[in-house]
């Protein structure tokens, strides 16, 4: 009996040290799944880039249920994964429960900035600043003076996107009309291209000729229909310009891929604390490549870059929806 326990103990010790020696990073995708062409896929791209460059391997899981959030965190932490990278604000609460139990494991939380724990690297993005810039571009590209916004679900994060966008639109054209819709109220709202397409048609019938989609996989339908109907669209999170060359005005970049890549590169030594990546840190921005070069005039680019410089220097402040749960430019 004692021999058995000793053996088991030794085996467990071995397993533990093996885990510590490996210390693979782990990546937990949110419910949207890793190929959502947007938020989660950006993380996947960053992780893949790290794996290709270093030859390293990492563990990953695509969550299927709420109860798995805490489960996946604990399982990866117990298996010795370090750092454990999580995607999305919904991981905040499970993290606050799990992180103190594994003080030697570093956690990296994307889209979380309000936790108080010494072993979490919390990364937020100033989405309103990036959205402001693409809002300006939308207003300049619009001929009908009506632009659209299609969000995933009516939650604070998406209002935050919409709010920055609306401010950008109004900054260029105070009389512009902004048509805003949310896709749905269930998680399928993040992955419903058909509904995205219907909303796009509805907004076109209301006069919109540039539509910004901040709706995860739903945005694929928005971009598709906008291209089919001959109007412009704006992608989100990843650079989506290439999906319909010449039809996507720009994409609001949220460099989740860079954040994930940096965290994996730093490995166990990753610095913890709260980091908000805005225009200055190039955490957000607008995409310009050969696919949309013909759509963005020199004048447009100059104006946007000027605004960008002003925001970085602090001369221009874009109101964040979070500050007091309201938006000066758009009602939800």
């Amino acid at each position: 009996m004692t021999l058995m326990t000793k053996l088991l103990g030794a085996a467990a010790g071995l397993a533990l040290s093996a885990g510590a020696a490996l210390a693979e990073p782990a990546l937990i995708f949110d419910l949207g799944g890793k190929f959502d062409k947007s938020f989660n896929e950006a993380a996947h791209n960053g992780a893949q880039r790290w794996a290709d460059e270093t030859g390293g391997t990492y563990r990953e899981i695509e969550l299927q249920s709420e109860a798995q959030r805490e489960q996946a965190l604990r399982r990866f932490a117990e298996a010795g994964a370090n750092p454990v990278i999580t995607m999305g604000f919904a991981m905040a609460d499970p993290l606050s429960a799990v992180a103190p139990d594994y003080p030697d494991t570093k956690f990296v939380a994307i889209d979380v900035t309000w936790l108080d724990a010494p072993n979490i690297r919390q990364i937020g993005f100033a989405e309103h600043e990036g959205s402001y810039l693409v809002g300006m571009m939308a207003a300049m590209a619009s001929e009908s003076d009506t632009v659209g916004f299609i969000g995933g679900m009516d939650i604070p994060l998406i209002r935050h996107f919409g709010c920055g966008y609306a401010q950008g639109v109004k900054a260029v054209n105070p009389d512009a009309t902004i048509v805003a819709n949310m896709t749905g109220t269930t998680p399928s709202a993040w992955n419903d291209p058909v509904k995205g397409s219907e909303l796009t048609k509805s907004q076109i019938s209301q006069g919109a000729d540039v539509i910004y989609a901040a709706a995860g996989g739903t945005g694929v339908g928005v971009l598709q229909t906008a291209a089919d109907e001959g109007i412009l669209s704006i992608g989100v999170d990843s650079n989506q310009n290439h999906l319909h060359p010449g039809k996507v005005l720009t994409s609001m970049l949220k460099r989740v891929d860079v954040a994930v890549y940096d965290a994996m590169k730093a490995g166990e030594a990753v610095e913890t604390g709260v980091f908000v990546l805005g225009l200055a840190e190039e955490g957000v921005g607008y995409a310009l490549d050969e696919n949309n070069a013909s759509l963005v005039s020199a004048e447009m680019q100059a104006m946007v870059d000027e605004a960008r410089a002003k925001i970085i220097s602090g001369e221009l402040e874009v109101a964040a929806y979070y500050t007091n749960d309201s938006c000066p430019a758009l009602d939800f």
């Binding site: 419910l31 799944g33 563990r59 899981i61 695509e62 299927q64 249920s65 709420e66 109860a67 798995q68 805490e70 489960q71 996946a72 604990r74 399982r75 990866f76 604000f89 919904a90 905040a92 609460d93 889209d111 309000w114 679900m153 009516d154 939650i155 604070p156 994060l157 935050h160 749905g184 109220t185 269930t186 998680p187 979070y322 749960d325």
Partner: protein, 364 residues
């Protein structure tokens, strides 16, 4: 005379259906280049091989017991309640209001009132379609499924605009106070010297679910009301002739059904998350339909089927964690089980019935 013995109906048909589902799943796993034997071993080991696995399996099973019972009770009155999802969502709201706004001295009081709150909210949400069915003839399948979407919209509005604590971006209520924390199986079994995994979310609501199974059995087979519900389910005109009011039975069966679905929230909202999140029910209301079908609407069958689906959920999670089998495939495996036990029931039943009839003839 029955076409085949009862044991064949209750045990053999689900078993054969399961084996068929497993066989096709194995083919699918082979087709994507993974080892089906290793996958099954990982699922069994991950879901049943440790108290940790059991803790998750039983946690999911508790959810499915409530929603399965909810569908089963309505089935007995031949009402197809596919609104369990929405009723459970609203039940969550009831639990959250009880847990957040009343200073409870002890979790046991909180649990009793949370059960009441969850049951009340779920029952009210089911009562509206029931009334529309009984008085206006609006088909209950259509109305209950539409009420799921309304429930999601209501919950979205309440969480984003009313219950969300200031400063949080997460559309969820505040964490419930420590006093309403339900004991997990770890805490319940520790005094008896049984070391149950600390991380697993299974909690005292499992006992409530078991109690609910027993009460539903008593209700359906041992009370006058249960008799009336079954009589109405077998023949509406016959029940009417016997003096049973269709309005009354429709309302009562759906209210009980909705209350049971709502009570699921004490497990997932109060027991596991300890706060109300947007996506709290995550399809358990729909799984309840499969559970009730597979369990032949009998509380003990529902109990067994709920454990099976708990196993599929937890085993599926382990597959997702440790193999490269994509999560879509795990959904495929779960869907195959539902397909064979629910929709393709007659495919197994008819040949079996014919077989038993032939055997009997030969003996005669």
């Amino acid at each position: 005379m029955e076409k085949m013995p009862r044991w064949a109906d209750v045990v053999l048909i689900p078993l054969i259906s399961l084996i068929l589902a497993a066989a096709i799943s194995a083919v699918v796993i082979l087709a994507i280049g993974e080892d089906p034997v290793a996958a099954v071993r990982l699922m069994v080991d991950g879901a049943l091989g440790s108290t940790y696995g059991w803790g998750y399996t039983l946690y999911y099973a508790t959810n499915f017991m409530f929603t399965g019972l909810a569908v089963a009770v309505a089935f007995h009155a031949r009402l197809f309640n596919i609104g369990g999802e929405g009723q459970a969502m609203l039940g969550g709201l009831g639990v959250a209001l009880v847990a957040l706004y009343v200073p409870w001295p002890h979790w046991s009081f909180a649990l009793i009132f949370a059960v009441a709150g969850a049951a009340l909210f779920g029952a009210v949400w089911a009562a509206v379609p029931a009334y529309l069915q009984a008085r206006r003839g609006s088909h209950i399948v259509i109305t209950t499924i539409m009420f799921n979407f309304i429930a999601a919209a209501v919950l979205n509005y309440v969480l984003v605009n009313l219950l969300r604590p200031a400063g949080s971006m997460d559309p969820a209520s505040a964490r419930f106070p420590e006093a309403v924390h339900l004991p997990t199986l770890h805490e319940m079994l520790a005094p008896f010297g049984i070391a149950f995994s600390k991380a697993a979310p299974a909690n005292v609501s499992l006992l409530v679910a078991l109690l609910a199974c027993l009460l539903v059995w008593l209700l359906i087979w041992r009370t006058r009301l249960g008799y009336e519900i079954r009589a109405y389910g077998h023949s509406e005109t016959g029940a009417l002739y016997a003096g049973i009011s269709p309005f009354k039975i429709t309302m009562i069966a759906m209210i009980i059904s909705g209350a049971l679905a709502g009570m699921m929230a004490i497990n997932n909202v109060m027991g596991e998350a300890e706060r109300l999140v947007l996506n709290a029910t995550e399809g358990a209301g729909f799984i309840g339909i499969a559970v009730a079908l597979m369990g032949r609407s009998h509380p003990f069958g529902v109990f067994l089927a709920a454990i099976l689906f708990g196993f599929l959920y937890q085993g599926g999670a382990e597959l997702a964690l440790w193999t490269s089998i994509p999560r879509e495939l795990i959904v495929v495996i779960q869907a195959l089980v539902i397909l064979f036990t629910g929709a393709l029931d007659n495919m197994v039943r008819m040949p079996l019935e014919a077989l038993f009839l032939r055997l009997r003839k030969r003996r005669a």
